[in-house]
């Protein structure tokens, strides 16, 4: 069965903390979070509140995912060129 929004919402209620960081604080910390993931892998241990926010907040989570991809591609020197990206954007 596909997860209904109600099921997702109940999980979010279960995971709710008394204090959660805001989207601004998440944006402030997400670059550190991404680089910790890439370098040491212990981002969730060092920045658990970022992980908690990303699990609750879809817009921040989508941005995190793209940033993570970008940072990995850059670290591996595999970032596509502007030309390649512009061609893909035209599709």
């Amino acid at each position: 069965m596909m997860k209904t929004n109600l099921a997702k919402f109940v999980r979010h209620v279960h995971d709710t903390q008394d204090t959660e960081i805001s989207c601004s604080v998440c944006l402030d910390l997400v670059s550190q979070y991404v680089d910790l993931e890439i370098s040491t892998g212990d981002a969730t241990i060092q920045l658990p509140l970022v992980k908690q926010h990303l699990d609750q907040c879809l817009v921040c989570s989508e941005e995190y995912q793209v940033l993570h991809q970008l940072a990995v591609l850059e670290a591996e020197q595999r970032l596509p060129t502007d030309e390649e990206l512009m061609n893909q954007l035209k599709k």
């Binding site: 069965m1 997860k3 209904t4 929004n5 109600l6 099921a7 997702k8 919402f9 109940v10 999980r11 979010h12 209620v13 279960h14 709710t16 008394d18 959660e20 805001s22 989207c23 601004s24 944006l27 402030d28 997400v30 670059s31 550190q32 991404v34 680089d35 609750q56 907040c57 879809l58 817009v59 989508e62 941005e63 793209v66 940033l67 991809q69 970008l70 940072a71 850059e74 970032l79 596509p80 502007d82 990206l85 512009m86 893909q88 954007l89 035209k90 599709k91």
Partner: protein
């Protein structure tokens, strides 16, 4: 290829008004354009019906806006990430927000309005199909608690925001725009709502892990 700048080199080059700043500005602008292009490419489904020219123009606008954000926030850079990762996040944030708003710009949220606290929309999501005969009964109990909190403890604005984001899949940025609000305020509305429901369930003796399992 030139050796990439260190964090310190980026920070100094962008902070000092000299020849170096011009070069660094041009370089970071190029990197932000690439981040914006990359972001839009990963979310092409949001950009349907946008022409090629408009897409390229949007990427340029996002890069420019991100450059402004980077310069305005330069003092916040603490060096706890790579400078480029720190800068890219502004490009990603701006490009995705713009893409989401584009996708939803034709949709009236009035059609998704909360029906005056009758909570019919909430009932609609109640699709419990399961072989376990005990489960639907217990699910219904939990749903009743949630509905009661929605009805009696949330403000209309809180209820409306929760409905749009958690149940109608409207991106938070779109709700923020229509309410003329900001992400932090809307996130707080949602957090307060979740917390009230959680507290009510706990107060009534529910084990939250079991509650979650009921619905998964």
């Amino acid at each position: 290829m030139d050796k990439p700048r260190s964090n310190q080199e980026w920070f100094e080059a962008l902070s000092n008004q000299d020849v170096q700043q011009g070069e660094a500005l041009e370089e970071i602008r190029r990197l932000l354009l690439r981040a914006a292009l990359y972001t839009l490419v990963t979310h092409l489904s949001d950009l349907q019906e946008m022409s090629e020219e408009e897409r390229l123009a949007l990427a340029e606008e996002c890069a420019q806006e991100a450059l402004m954000a980077v310069l305005a926030r330069l003092g916040d850079f603490r060096g706890d990430s790579k400078f480029t990762t720190w800068a890219y996040k502004f490009g990603v944030n701006i490009a995705l927000s713009r893409a989401r708003r584009w996708r939803w710009k034709q949709v009236s949220l009035d059609d998704l309005a909360d029906d005056d606290g009758t909570l019919n929309w909430f009932q609609r999501d109640e699709r419990f199909q399961t072989a376990d005969s005990e489960q639907p009964v217990r699910q219904k109990e939990v749903v009743e608690v949630i509905r009661e909190v929605l009805r009696t403890q949330l403000t209309p604005r809180q209820r409306q925001t929760l409905k749009l984001i958690a149940f109608d899949d409207v991106p938070m940025d779109v709700v923020v725009q229509r309410l003329d609000s900001n992400r932090n305020a809307v996130y707080k509305l949602l957090h307060d709502a979740r917390l009230k429901i959680k507290q009510q369930l706990v107060r009534r003796g529910y084990d939250l892990a079991e509650v979650m399992d009921l619905f998964q």
